[in-house]
């Protein structure tokens, strides 16, 4: 897995790169926006670790170029900015994750592994999301509730896949409708509720929480 690290602090960049290399990641360094821009076309990056406070500008300005050149590349923002508005701004701009310095190396590894899991298509391994008695095998498209397999339609699976691959997120109606968009028939505004109710009947009513005005999420058993 090849990673581009955009960080202007030489000590941190060096420490991070050598740590990731011990974990068998291929890491390239860029210390400014300009360097990052020229490095982008050079390889097929799996992930970019992006500092926001760069000498020649805001790291988020790199995201449009990055998404155009590498649509499947994940971005983890590594920043000293811990304000929630900075975080929201980063995620809205298209970052997949947002880690505030000083972050735990183990946590960064976990996020990178999650990216690896999401990149691994069907047939991959180790991509099972477990929430209480609900188990979702993202790689092999299998769902079990209390060890009992559950049969889902393609659209139900599409919705569950979005929610299960990022269980820590509240998924907005728009992002879930996007997941349904690829299917040929009409996706009217009320169909999301219909599919959600089907999904709820199959995996348990209380497992999908509706947060009014925000979206849906997979809820834990206790909820």
């Amino acid at each position: 897995m090849r990673i581009l690290l955009v960080e202007d602090d030489a000590r941190l960049a060096d420490a991070l790169a050598s740590f990731l290399r011990t974990r068998d990641f291929v890491v390239d360094l860029a210390s400014s926006l300009a360097e990052a821009r020229s490095a982008l076309p050079a390889a097929r990056w799996a992930a970019v670790l992006l500092d926001l406070h760069l000498p020649d500008g805001d790291g988020l300005t790199l995201l449009p170029t990055l998404q155009r050149q590498h649509p499947d590349c994940s971005v983890i923002v590594l920043t000293a900015r811990d304000q929630i508005t900075d975080r929201i701004r980063g995620l809205d701009a298209g970052a997949d994750d947002y880690l505030v310095k000083p972050f735990d190396a183990g946590e960064l590894l976990a996020r990178l592994r999650a990216i690896e899991r999401r990149r691994a298509g069907p047939g991959g391994s180790g991509s099972v999301v477990t929430l209480g008695s609900l188990s979702v095998d993202l790689a092999n498209s299998r769902v079990t509730v209390a060890q009992q397999p559950v049969e889902l339609t393609a659209k139900e699976w599409a919705l569950l896949r979005v929610m299960a691959s990022r269980p820590e997120r509240i998924h907005s109606r728009d992002s879930l409708l996007d997941a349904l968009y690829g299917f040929d028939d009409d996706t009217g505004s009320n169909t999301l509720e219909v599919f959600m109710s089907h999904l709820r009947r199959k995996i348990g009513r209380e497992r999908i929480q509706t947060l009014r005005g925000l979206g849906y999420r997979l809820a834990a058993d206790g909820a």
Partner: protein, 459 residues
């Protein structure tokens, strides 16, 4: 805010001007009245003396020629309504008496009785008359010339009315005119006051001094100077907070990575070196925590946390809770509840309120090792964090509340362990945002646990 308790400048000025104008007018009128009254008496008296001297010789001659007669002169004209009394002709009457006091002669309108039988030469007053008496040096005939005192009183009354009536008529006019004029002339003050009222920590734009009189222009100009300095200071403070975060966090991140790298290299966790390394990492974590709390505290107390944006508490809570859900251990334990109908809006600073909620959740996570932690957004604008931990015993709850009120500006509360750690940050933010903080233990409807309730101003 103690607003409008003091009377306005224009009202005070109007009242004072009214009072003093009327008083001075009244004093001037009374002074004039006194002076003119003295003058009138003098004129009337002069007329008496002059007439007496003129008549005396004439009458002496008349007596010598024709002997005593009852009357002399013409009959008075009929009284007329439109003829002012004090300039009525024949307002003077006279009587002529012998040396022994017998009435020898009188004017037609004079009474038949001697008015002042024993009067000396000179002025005297009898009944309603002012009399001037004179004795002929040769014939010893006496003449008494008199005018009615009521004539003089009428004259005084007329004068008084002519001076005071205009004042009475003008008072209502002044009563309308003075407040109008003061309001118009003091419009600049009102305008400046309105401008200053609009200024806040979010609006430090310069005041307009256009059309202001010189004194107010100085106030506006100096205020602008201070506003500019305040604005600069706030900008510096914000930049400093952001930079301090960056300057502190980057080396901390480097140190952590290096130590964790060494930990990887060491491999076996049971050696003395690995133990020492773990202790270093623990200390580093403590340092990170304190640095974070200091940054949060400085942010909470800085002018940067004073924004009054309209924000939806459900969105705020969702953003903060999603941060915690990235921890797989909390994915099952942390629950978010938002209102099913209507939105909880408040006016405040999104970042500051997020720090507040983050601290409340951190507290719950630390003190309640297991069990559900519920973050509820409630109408009209409430945040509630409930845990199922041991809660806080009653006496400790009292102490915490006491500490909150006793906290001096420099007390190092933020670094004390336990519930007090994030509580002073929470408390500072709640105060700044105009909210109310309540700690309830055991949590309502539970045997134990702590419920922290933050009531914010609804918007």
């Amino acid at each position: 805010m103690p607003r409008h308790s003091a009377p306005s400048l224009s009202r005070r000025l109007g009242r004072t001007l009214m009072l003093w104008t009327s008083s001075l007018w009244l004093a001037t009128a009374l002074g004039t009245l006194w002076y003119v009254r003295t003058d009138i008496n003098h004129v009337y008296d002069s007329a008496l003396t002059e007439s007496a001297w003129r008549l005396l010789d004439l009458i002496n001659h008349e007596l010598a020629e024709h002997g005593p007669g009852i009357a002399l002169g013409e009959a008075p004209p009929p009284p007329s309504e439109d003829f002012p009394l004090h300039i009525e002709p024949h307002h003077l009457i006279y009587q002529v008496t012998s040396a022994r006091g017998q009435l020898l002669m009188r004017s037609v309108d004079a009474p038949g009785e001697v008015l002042a039988p024993g009067a000396q030469d000179g002025f005297s007053e009898h009944d309603d008359w002012r009399i001037f008496t004179l004795t002929h040096p040769v014939s010893l005939v006496r003449i008494h010339v008199a005018d009615a005192l009521r004539h003089r009183r009428h004259a005084e009354l007329d004068l008084m009315l002519s001076l005071l009536l205009p004042l009475l008529g003008l008072l209502p006019v002044l009563g309308l005119l003075i407040p109008h004029l003061t309001r118009r002339e003091l419009a600049g003050v009102d305008h400046l006051a309105d401008q200053i009222r609009e200024r806040s920590d979010r609006n430090l734009s310069p005041l307009s001094s256009a059309g202001l009189p010189a004194e107010l222009a100085i106030i506006a100009e100096r205020s602008n100077h201070l506003l500019q300095r305040l604005s600069d200071a706030l900008d510096t403070e914000r930049a400093l907070a952001a930079n301090a975060a960056h300057e502190l966090r980057t080396p901390l991140a480097t140190t952590r990575l290096r130590l964790q790298g060494v930990q990887d290299l060491l491999g076996r966790p049971d050696t003395a070196a690995a133990e020492a390394l773990q202790q270093a990492l623990d200390s580093l974590q403590q340092l990170e925590r304190r640095a974070e709390k200091l940054l949060q505290m400085s942010r909470a107390e800085s002018g940067a946390a004073l924004a009054r944006d309209r924000l939806n508490l459900a969105q705020l809570a969702a953003a903060v809770v999603q941060e915690f859900w990235t921890d797989p251990a909390l994915l099952d334990r942390l629950q978010l509840l938002v209102p099913e109908h209507g939105d909880a809006h408040t006016l405040g600073d999104f970042d500051a309120l997020a720090i507040l909620l983050r601290n409340l959740i951190e507290n719950a996570v630390r003190h309640a090792p297991d069990g559900l932690i519920t973050v509820s957004v409630e109408l009209p604008a409430r945040l509630r964090v409930t845990d199922q931990g041991p809660g806080i015993p009653g006496e400790r709850l009292g102490q915490l509340l006491l500490q909150r009120h006793q906290r001096g500006p420099s007390a190092p509360m933020a670094l004390q362990p336990g519930y007090g750690l994030g509580l002073s940050i929470v408390n500072t933010i709640v105060e700044r945002q105009g909210g109310l903080l309540q700690l309830i233990s055991p949590a309502p409807g539970q045997a134990a646990g702590l419920c922290v309730l933050v009531q914010l101003p609804a918007a």
